[in-house]
Structures are given as C-alpha cells and as structure tokens.
Symmetry: C2
Subunit: 156 residues, 2 copies
C-alpha cells in the first residue's frame, strides 16, 4: 500500500465550522448588519445604501461604474439600490450628455445634509467593538489583504 496522492480526510476531520475564516467573516458581516440596523433606521437607510452615501460624500457626481469599482459591485446590484435612493430624494441619476451610455450620480441637498446625522457612527463602532483605533486599522488591513487575495484567486 504505497499511495503518494492520498485523498485528504473528510472535511469535518480537518476543520470545524468555528475554525473557518469564511464563517467568521460571514457571521461578522451579519453582526455588523444587525448592529447597524437601528442606527440606519434613524437615517432612513439600509446598510448598503449607507455605503453608497459614504462613497458619494467622498466623491459626488461620479458614474455608476465608478461607484461600482469603489464598492466592488456592478450595475445589476447598484441600479435598483440607486433607484430606491433616488426615490428617497437622496440623489439624482442623470445620463451624461457627452456619453449617453453613462449615468452620473449627484447628491441632493437632502443627501448631503444626511452626512451630519451620521457623524457619531465611527465612535459608536469603536465603543461597541472595544477596539482602539490602531487595533481597528490593523485588523481592517489584514481583512483587506485577504479580500484582495481572494479576488485575485477567484476564477483561478
């Protein structure tokens, strides 16, 4: 019995659910969603809509595809979200006059004004997680590093 290329042992003999990085990330993402929910409700937003708002507070007047690069999403996800946000009066979607394929996003006064309502949020997360700012940045960097690795490994 000499078998150089052995089949690995079955999954649960290798790792437990609680050891999996993907499960930790999945659960942490759900936890962030739940934690933010009441805060977002005050702003009248969902959590993904809030991420869109942050991106637009940082850079207004951008194309849908630019926003998509920023958030790692495409128009199939963004278009419905942006339409709902337009319906809420937070932004306007306008075809680019010089290239009618593109849609430019512009915050309304209401959309810009909302930024002041959200100012307490970073402190809120620091308090909830019990991390100091330096630890938080370190952890963020490590997570971002594996995100980038996964992205480049996706589809080979």
């Amino acid at each position: 019995m000499h078998d150089e290329e052995t089949t690995p042992p079955k999954l649960t003999d290798q790792v437990r659910l609680d050891d999996l990085l993907c499960f930790a990330v999945y659960s942490a993402n759900n936890a962030f969603n739940r934690f933010y929910k009441p805060v977002m409700a005050e702003l009248g937003l969902t959590y993904p809509q809030f991420l869109v708002m942050i991106a637009l507070w940082e850079a207004d007047g951008v194309r849908v595809s630019h926003l998509g690069e920023r958030l790692g999403l495409e128009s199939n996800t963004l278009t419905p979200v942006l339409k709902r946000m337009e319906g809420l009066g937070l932004l306007e979607r306008k075809r680019d006059r010089s290239d009618e394929r593109q849609v430019l996003l512009h915050l309304t006064d209401k959309g810009r004004a909302l930024e002041n309502e959200a100012s307490g949020l970073p402190a809120c997360v620091l308090e909830a997680t019990g991390l100091d700012p330096a630890e938080l940045i370190t952890l963020r960097n490590e997570i971002e590093r594996i995100r980038a690795k996964l992205e480049s490994a996706t589809g080979r």
Copy 2:
C-alpha cells in the same frame, strides 16, 4: 467660545470608506462568496447551504433552532433554505414525535456522501489567501471577537 460638547466633525472628515472595518468585512464576505461560487457549483450548493451542510456533518439529527444557534440565523431564514435542500435530496425534515412543534434535521446518504467531495476546500482557502494555518486562526479569532462584541452591543 467655550464648547465642551461639540458636535463631531462630519463623517468623511473623520474616516474614509476604506478605513471602515464594517466595509472591509462586507467586502471580504462578498469576496468569499465569489471565490466559493465555482467550488459550490460543483457541489450543487450555495455558500449558505454549504455552511448548513458543515453544521450537519458535525452534528446530525438536530433541531432547526439548534442549527440556527450554530449559524446565527433564525427559522425565517433557515426554513426556506432547508426546504430547498430537502428538495435537493440532501436532508429530511421531520417533526419530532415527542414535541410536534420541533423539526428534526437528518442528512440523507446523498447529504453525507457530499462531505468527501468537499475535502479539498480548506487547502484551497489557505492557498488563495496565502495565509499559513496559524495566521488564519489568529485572524479568525480576532474577527470572532469583534463579532461577539457587536452581538452583545446590538440593541444597546
């Protein structure tokens, strides 16, 4: 001008989108989903269905509520997933004879057999992320720590 209780500066003057831990976790979760998609397709599963399978490979014959505790989900999310998985012939849902409110989950032979197909996955993640097992566990622990903190901070 003496103002002890100043309003914090607006959000984008405090942090950038790319500094936010929540956004890193959100993006990493999306990245895991995308990375797993082709692998899951081979197994005929979705990523959440795969997490259910792992939980059941570890402990079969459990109640829906027990699975929910394991995964941090409730019946409103799990019931439709479990029904689809039952439709795929991976498991059976049976009312507990001794307490008809409860539903017990039992893997089928097909469901158990699938574990062997998934054995390459941990190595696959290690390779994709470029982490060694010790780093991965450390990172996992840190993420789990903040997940637990967020959970206990949710709703005050």
